[in-house]
């Protein structure tokens, strides 16, 4: 069948059909009898919570996973994909959520690795320049990937996929790491690909995006298909209900909150990174008051990790008074003394940083609790006290686990995150610094965690939340500051913090130019 023929009678013939796809890992069903039809010239959304089986399904379509049962049909013919190269040769391309890029190689080399290598490197580079110009996705082919921003890295992934001239493009949560403006640019590209007659499969859990962009949506829950619907006829709430299987409680701040004195101060902190790919912190200053939540927004890699390390004491500051916790200069103190001052820290990485994966929860409770929570008696570990801490956290935060004191690694992401956040909050810290509190956590657990942060600030603590999720920050923060290239903007009060304004700051625009832009729009 020639290309023209297939195009002419494929007006309503599916390009790719997945029929009854089942993938079993031991007794666990990652996909359970999932069927989905993808049509040319259509953007199809694949919705679901973490662990609903979205990634398994698309990896099957890309040949990375062999299904236990079920089949794929490509243009009506049954196919068995032997691997990604096979999928690519048929015209299936994929943009991964966790970029499949090589940091120390150049842009052109990264693109070459995603192609079959049938053309010379020079010819490939020329075509790369052509494609990136055509679609308005500028890239410098000679730059190494580690020098690029997250948005630019995603551009590489997309250009690499487009270089294959795919009939079907799969995008796994492409906007998770983009600023709102970058996301808008991406949507323009996706609309154009759709108008070129390509099929797009778009994985996301941002429902407003899906409503705006997609023609069809398939919703997965617990490995099973729940529904296929037209997102434009659904509301975000109705789709959320299908994803979660229940209504999600709204988080509410306690109304009467007394904003008191600044309990956490960062004063003109400059710090050089300790790894060659890190970010310089430049003159970061901010005050977090008791009774408020201060949000720090920004695209990943703009200095948030370095700031967290400097606040938690994993890295010491150049000057003693760069960080002040409840009136005590803490810049030269390490983690434990800072905890003793009443501070608590929740790092971004759950396994390996927030917890020791192969240790029990009680031992993990001890790791942060020994400083200030009386878990050590005369130099010996007080086992009952550590177990009590686990039980208390389990109860207050609804941590679901198989036994009383399992290994940290055996918990699901959401439950482990509830444990880590709960472990710190139950100590009633005066200052809490938390990074990406709900990253990769299901909606139910995220609501529990956000509510707990609000309640803690309501009791008079100062809470600093570093997050990439703008919606989350707008939902819970009193003020929001933005990190860009290692500098921190002035905090904006929530009432004035629109997505547009924050997005511009995340892209590095100076505050004055934002005012002008707003003015121009107003006029």
């Amino acid at each position: 069948m020639s290309d023209q023929e297939s195009a002419s009678h494929s007006a309503r013939a599916p390009l790719l059909q997945a029929i009854g796809i089942t993938k079993r890992y031991g007794s666990f069903l990652a996909n359970d009898d999932v069927s989905i039809d993808l049509f040319p010239g259509e953007i199809h959304a694949l919705l679901g919570e973490n662990g609903a089986g979205k990634s398994t399904l698309v990896k099957t379509m890309y040949g990375l996973i062999q299904p236990s049962a079920g089949e794929l049909r490509w243009q009506g013919e049954k196919i068995e994909l032997t691997g990604p190269a096979d999928a690519r040769s048929r015209g299936i391309a994929m943009v991964f959520q966790h970029f499949s890029l090589f940091d120390n190689l150049t842009v052109a080399e990264n693109v070459a690795l995603g192609l079959d290598g049938s053309e010379s490197f020079a010819a490939m580079s020329a075509r790369l320049a052509q494609v990136s110009r055509d679609y308005g996705l500028p890239l410098d082919p000679k730059r190494e990937v580690w020098r690029l921003s997250v948005g630019e890295r995603q551009r590489i992934e997309i250009v690499r996929a487009l270089m294959q001239n795919p009939k079907l493009l799969i995008l796994d949560e492409p906007t998770a790491v983009l600023t709102p403006q970058e996301a808008d640019q991406l949507f323009t590209v996706l609309e154009r690909l759709k108008s070129e007659g390509r099929a797009l499969l778009y994985i996301s859990h941002k429902l407003d995006e899906v409503k705006r962009l997609c023609d069809t949506a398939t919703i997965l829950r617990g490995g099973k298909k729940v529904a296929t619907c037209n997102p434009r006829e659904e509301t975000a709430a109705s789709m959320a209900r299908m994803m979660v299987g229940a209504d999600i409680g709204e988080v509410k701040a306690t109304t009467a909150r007394a904003v008191t004195i600044p309990r956490l101060l960062i004063r003109d902190l400059s710090l050089e990174p300790d790894d060659p790919h890190g970010t310089y912190l430049r003159n970061v200053s901010v005050e977090v008051f008791g009774g408020e939540i201060l949000g720090i927004a920004g695209v990943a890699g703009n200095g948030q990790d370095e700031l967290f390390a400097a606040l938690s004491g994993e890295r010491l500051c150049p000057n003693e008074d760069d960080v002040i916790i409840d009136g005590h200069a803490a810049g030269h103190l390490s983690v434990t003394p800072r905890r003793k001052l009443g501070a608590a820290f929740v790092p971004e990485e759950r396994l390996g940083h927030g917890t020791a994966p192969r240790m029990k929860l009680s031992e993990n409770a001890l790791l942060t609790g020994h400083a200030a929570s009386r878990m050590v008696k005369h130099g010996f570990v007080d086992r009952p006290a550590t177990l009590k801490a686990v039980d208390a956290t389990t109860q207050s935060f609804d941590v679901r686990k198989a036994k009383r004191d399992p290994e940290a690694a055996s918990l699901s992401g959401g439950n482990l995150q509830k444990f880590i956040v709960g472990r710190e909050i139950l100590r009633e810290p005066g200052v809490l610094v938390v990074s990406q509190p709900t990253w990769g956590v299901d909606a139910g657990a995220a609501a529990v965690i956000r509510q707990a942060l609000l309640d803690l600030s309501g009791r008079g603590s100062a809470v600093l939340v570093i997050s990439q999720d703008l919606d989350e920050l707008i939902e819970i923060s009193d003020r929001i500051a933005v990190m860009f290239h290692g500098t921190l903007s002035e905090p904006i009060a929530r009432a004035e913090a629109t997505r547009e304004k924050l997005g511009l700051l995340m892209g590095g625009a100076a505050p004055e130019s934002i005012k002008e832009a707003a003015h121009a729009v107003g006029a």
Partner: protein, 306 residues
Amino acid sequence: MPIVEAIIISVIAASTPLLLAAAGELVVERSGVLNLGVEGMMIMGAACGFAGAYLSGSTFVGALCGIAAGMALSFVFAVLTLGLAVNQVAAGLALTILGVGLSGLIGAGFVGQKITPAPHLYIPGLSDIPVVGKMLFAQDGFVYFSVVLVIGIWWFLYRTRGGLILRAVGDSHTSAHALGYPVLKIRLMAVLFGGGCAGLAGAFLPLAYTPFFIPGMTAGRGWIALALVVFSSWLPGRLVAGAYLFGAVSILQLHAQALGLGIPSQLMTSLPYLATVIVLVLISRGRGSTGSVAPASLGVVFVPDR
């Protein structure tokens, strides 16, 4: 003049085994595998190389035996670290211990025997050039091969698609896997290549350097080769410079001792190692500006998810 000539010739001879072994290890580490068993593979190459040459009477056969022995030992390492996902540091150290012991056993019957050393190959035309000709173009086959090998490795890494894939696997095995490259197969090839190079480097010692075999004759050269790879920041060009710098210092200290400068010989013997440490420090200090860093996946065990 003759003494300078003699020094240069002996520097080349001292540097060649380091260069051979380090070149192989560079390819292995570029693929993201850290094989600390170079010393063990070298000494096995020395024992088997000598045995092969003694029994067959041919240096070439001996060299092939050395390569085969190094590869065989590296295959054991590959089975452990790639097949069974064992910790690479532990497996590499075990490999060295195994190699040292096994080579003593294999070589026991050959201690005290002598063979004819590898013939010097005169390159027609070039070897007749006064002064330089005899120094550079009248070497044995190992020396020429080591130079060709490093150039070949450079060309492979930076000019071929295969080299690009190898570097990609070393940089991020998860990304390479996601794009459909057979990570473990590529690493197996690299490990076997490194084993062959280490075996050849070991075989050079009894076949060309000294025409007899003694147990433990590699005397830590495998460890120096490992250090040289870091020293070169995984760049083939710098590897040549490093190997020759080290070779030169280790020969010059011998001559300095012979001159009787009154410096304790132990101190002189430690000079090459001291030089390595100093250069390592200097290189790691300048790392940020040159951007040359270790392959990001170096030493990390990879288990494909299906």
